[in-house]
Symmetry: D2
Subunit: 375 residues, 4 copies
Amino acid sequence: MTNKKTIRVGILGASGYTGAELIRLLCRHPDVEIVLLTADRHAGLPVSDVFPHLFGLGLPNLIKIDEVEWHGVEADIIFCALPHGTTQEIVAGLLHHTGHDVIDELITERREDLIAGIPDGVRVIDLSADFRLENVDTYAQWYGHAHRAPQLQAEAVYGLTEFARDDIRDARLVACPGCYPTSALLPLIPLIGAGQIDADDIIIDAKSGVTGAGRAAKEASLFGEVSEGIHAYGVAGHRHGPEIEQGLAQAAGRDILVNFTPHLVPMNRGILSTIYVRLEGGATAADLHETLSKRYAAEPFVDVVPEGVSPATRHVRGSNHSLLGVFPDRVKGRAIILSVLDNLVKGASGQAVQNMNVMCGLPETLSLEQRPLFP
Amino acid sequence: MTNKKTIRVGILGASGYTGAELIRLLCRHPDVEIVLLTADRHAGLPVSDVFPHLFGLGLPNLIKIDEVEWHGVEADIIFCALPHGTTQEIVAGLLHHTGHDVIDELITERREDLIAGIPDGVRVIDLSADFRLENVDTYAQWYGHAHRAPQLQAEAVYGLTEFARDDIRDARLVACPGCYPTSALLPLIPLIGAGQIDADDIIIDAKSGVTGAGRAAKEASLFGEVSEGIHAYGVAGHRHGPEIEQGLAQAAGRDILVNFTPHLVPMNRGILSTIYVRLEGGATAADLHETLSKRYAAEPFVDVVPEGVSPATRHVRGSNHSLLGVFPDRVKGRAIILSVLDNLVKGASGQAVQNMNVMCGLPETLSLEQRPLFP
Amino acid sequence: MTNKKTIRVGILGASGYTGAELIRLLCRHPDVEIVLLTADRHAGLPVSDVFPHLFGLGLPNLIKIDEVEWHGVEADIIFCALPHGTTQEIVAGLLHHTGHDVIDELITERREDLIAGIPDGVRVIDLSADFRLENVDTYAQWYGHAHRAPQLQAEAVYGLTEFARDDIRDARLVACPGCYPTSALLPLIPLIGAGQIDADDIIIDAKSGVTGAGRAAKEASLFGEVSEGIHAYGVAGHRHGPEIEQGLAQAAGRDILVNFTPHLVPMNRGILSTIYVRLEGGATAADLHETLSKRYAAEPFVDVVPEGVSPATRHVRGSNHSLLGVFPDRVKGRAIILSVLDNLVKGASGQAVQNMNVMCGLPETLSLEQRPLFP
Amino acid sequence: MTNKKTIRVGILGASGYTGAELIRLLCRHPDVEIVLLTADRHAGLPVSDVFPHLFGLGLPNLIKIDEVEWHGVEADIIFCALPHGTTQEIVAGLLHHTGHDVIDELITERREDLIAGIPDGVRVIDLSADFRLENVDTYAQWYGHAHRAPQLQAEAVYGLTEFARDDIRDARLVACPGCYPTSALLPLIPLIGAGQIDADDIIIDAKSGVTGAGRAAKEASLFGEVSEGIHAYGVAGHRHGPEIEQGLAQAAGRDILVNFTPHLVPMNRGILSTIYVRLEGGATAADLHETLSKRYAAEPFVDVVPEGVSPATRHVRGSNHSLLGVFPDRVKGRAIILSVLDNLVKGASGQAVQNMNVMCGLPETLSLEQRPLFP
């Protein structure tokens, strides 16, 4: 490996769980050098003070995002692992997209000065929800404020890798899908495309591990509050609902409304989506299984388990794999689809790295080859 | 309380989790004396050797069921907490129901001699699945062998307390509902009865704690296999499916087929059933909430949470309470029902004690007043 | 039970875990009426909004402590379940102990006015660490600020029930022991008293569930941070160290220094103290077992398990019981003592209620009869 | 990488947790080909049926150990991940060590025929306890039966890599240390060697995850039995005690007896040993820290955390790293050592692979570079 091949990477928001996962994966990437790590509350500390499992990696210390000396950074790829709602203006700055009024207001003098130093060629992979919804009105409706970089939104590529490679390859800005949407869209897009299920009768009962709520200190994420129990949350009102619908609508060629009900499970990692569908056009569960098997035969990170097998989240823990299963329902004309992934990997940081590999013309599996950790 | 009122109780199968729960609850019952505890593998031991949390209660030691000297037992109520498939012949013996050919064959000489000593008035509360399905053909289909006491089946009362008090009061044999069916039937029976939901479009996505699998030493129940993950099991083939359908069919007045998909959650106790229904007759989610609120207003163990609240299994842990919630779906004409209970209490031993209280003319809440344990 | 017997109880700090446990236990007490519940952040809400498992109890809503209209409260017993460091001045106010300068400064005009209404006969049971250390200098050294009610400290009774009944009976102020100290002192005081162990060579390796850290939203208590792992904390510097030493010094009649190392275990409830001791005076492990067995033979809440049995925290979960075990070490002249309890019950709220029963001349076990919940 | 470099590996006992870990690690080793996998109960199945997380690896199916056609295997390295007590005769067969009477009796005609085909050069890495104790009398005393291959025992190398590289390099038979001994010996051997601690006053309070008990279906390992609680087991009688003492005795040059008390923690992976030592020769805790830091400065898998930092098992989860910490005790002249590792990796399969790398003259870190998985 020559120096020429090295991709210089920055991670904004490196003190959250997705930030830590990016480091964990990228530190073993043969072509990547991590040159920048920001984390506001922990600025000044070495990464291993914040994440002791990431010791001995020779990484740069954490710094405040406002104190980045962009002139010297020379990053090729910036991963944004910042909270929702804070990313639009920062990305706008990163991409010199200061023509828009809102941005101009938001960018302070000092920051403008700083970001003037960002190299023109920098590309952004955003893990937040800020650029996922193409329709900025839908964004405003679900996220409670006007979109702060609508022109960039038009340019952003929705990075569900298996369905957007061509666009990702040349994108300046990739919006990585949410964890729930990834788990729902992987099985549903091909089935809607094949006309084998009724896109108007889809129920997605999803179950997630607790890291999906991030590392913020909230009472609702305390061990005492979430261990030894299960509950639904965001019933009929979770923000990943419209994101799922956006993907399904594109597959169906028309607006789609789904039932999406997330649940919190006392485990660290993993999403299981149990999806109830009505069959169409005479399709059987076996036909669905065949459609998915064919669609994903050549994909390195999506596997269809044999008929009769129920995939478990623990069988993809820590890896970038997604497993899909199909069962016939006892009710005639219905089927049950099971989809599992690790919310921090294929549902977030792993898919982000997969997209980076696509953007850089590298084999997609680089630094993502690790097998699941079980038990 | 005088000695006269004392109910003498025996528990067959006291070394399983439901047996231990019966002891935990009954040892605080003011009118109950535990006079008999059987457990084949652990025969000869004090209960506290098998369940150290049940120390210091002055209980009889465990004995083999075949070695019970029934003449001296003088029990009023026998709880059967035995594995499925072993209970029919034992209950037949307990109830002197030896006229049936199959039973006559099964009952050995020694056992016949022993059970001759069982007092005529003994009554049986069965926690297994052996007497739950009224149709013995359905039983044979799902449990893999012919019913061994079909005449008793005709007499057995399905003990969903809130719907069968009158029959339970005088029953000789009460079949306690399964944990999943209890959690599904409590909300669904009133709603079908009110004509507010389509009984042909019901999806029950259920999540259970690990104690639902009992205390048998199975690889699939090891900590390493079930912690830190979730998976569906028995997809479209779980035996509680036909039991749920039996209850719904009675409410609807016709045969019903449901989708019922159970999942295993890394927690000890609790069931959450997330139920997806289609509204009928112009009903709204608010109407469903009202129907359930009215139906259960006077019930001590079923509570309907306020609209917008999502009930959690940890909020009923260790108690006999069931909590029901209703949400409108974003999809027009649909609603989501959430039902939680503790599978070992309202889903098994607690409901069994509740039924005993009914059978003995006692306040239903006796020895079931304990609040949930949280965290 | 007549109205006359009713004890009117207030709980300050009812939105934490120990507050919730007090409610759970007291709501079943035949002689107690809860008349006051304070919780600053959640003021105005019903308890069931903060603790959904405490529904349907007909309790007063939560109010701010500063807004209590003490004139109308007429409480007999006030439980203080407030954070460490905030309790001294509040208790001083409750007990009209305003002669002390520091208190006089601290008590604002409005509060002074309010607490003027507190009935003279009110008695306080404090669950915080604020009144546990008799030596106010030791307090200042470990808690970082001068004691704010040193005169009251002189009056406070250290409420390890089994060793202080006579003083507790007439106390105005009982300081309930910490969870770790309770688990260490129960076995060690009698053994030091009997001269069977060397008080200068005691190592206490303690393991606690996560609720010991309270319900405050801290990163360190998040599910993701504490599940699936174990670590020591406060090594050689935990504040319960001097509290343990105070109790041991009283038993030994001289100053004692111990090694006390707490660990955080991924479970909600429970403390296990594994205590390594050197035998003295020719004593054997069997002698220790006998000493403890005799000492606790008549105690309702301390049980010594048979020799060779290892007590587990899960066997006291949710109950006020403590279990003690003794093993001979392979190293000659040494023994291992195992002590378990539920940190929220015997380690906090249960012992507080036990003390209330003593203070009110009631049977000690009232409302504490519940068996452990297992699994 | 040329074919020449390929190491052909067999794994006996591939359906247990350590077997699965060997596969997980080795499947990414650039120089290894897995040519043989045995598992008696699951013979005939693909690995992914037994361990669904190991899908898509193109591995040979599982076969019974008695049905291996050794003539065709041509393995260079055989890993034995079989239960304790079954390995001695099998290893004797593998190494053509049939001169011993006991072995001759044990090896059946068919097996003798088969193992005749084993290539002369095969080398064995044993993960069981069968060859760890040099003194066969100690083995017999603790394992309940005479050693079945005492001549091989004399040849076996105790594979604590950091202390036995030279012997491991040329060994035919390496006995990998137990998980607890690895965690205790790594810090204690250098400190005893430096004369800084009293080898006669060592207390090892160890805490392990549940996978340490293996994948056997035992009631004691059920989720319901081990979650939400902690307990000590094998108090003063665990078989890893003499193994630890053997290592310490070699460091001290005389017999040593330690207190070793293991505890079961509700987590999948990880061991934390909290070790209480008495300082000698005027050493301080800082001296201990320095001794360990120097000793392990060049070791890739042993790290000494900064003073004041408490290492956690979750910070080495899934990796081959061990972390060591040192704290001064408040009791003068004493210190506390904290040692963590993943029991399935550095405590078993990872160290086995590390030893294989040494045996084959490869960089020790090959296929062990993966970072810990957190959360």
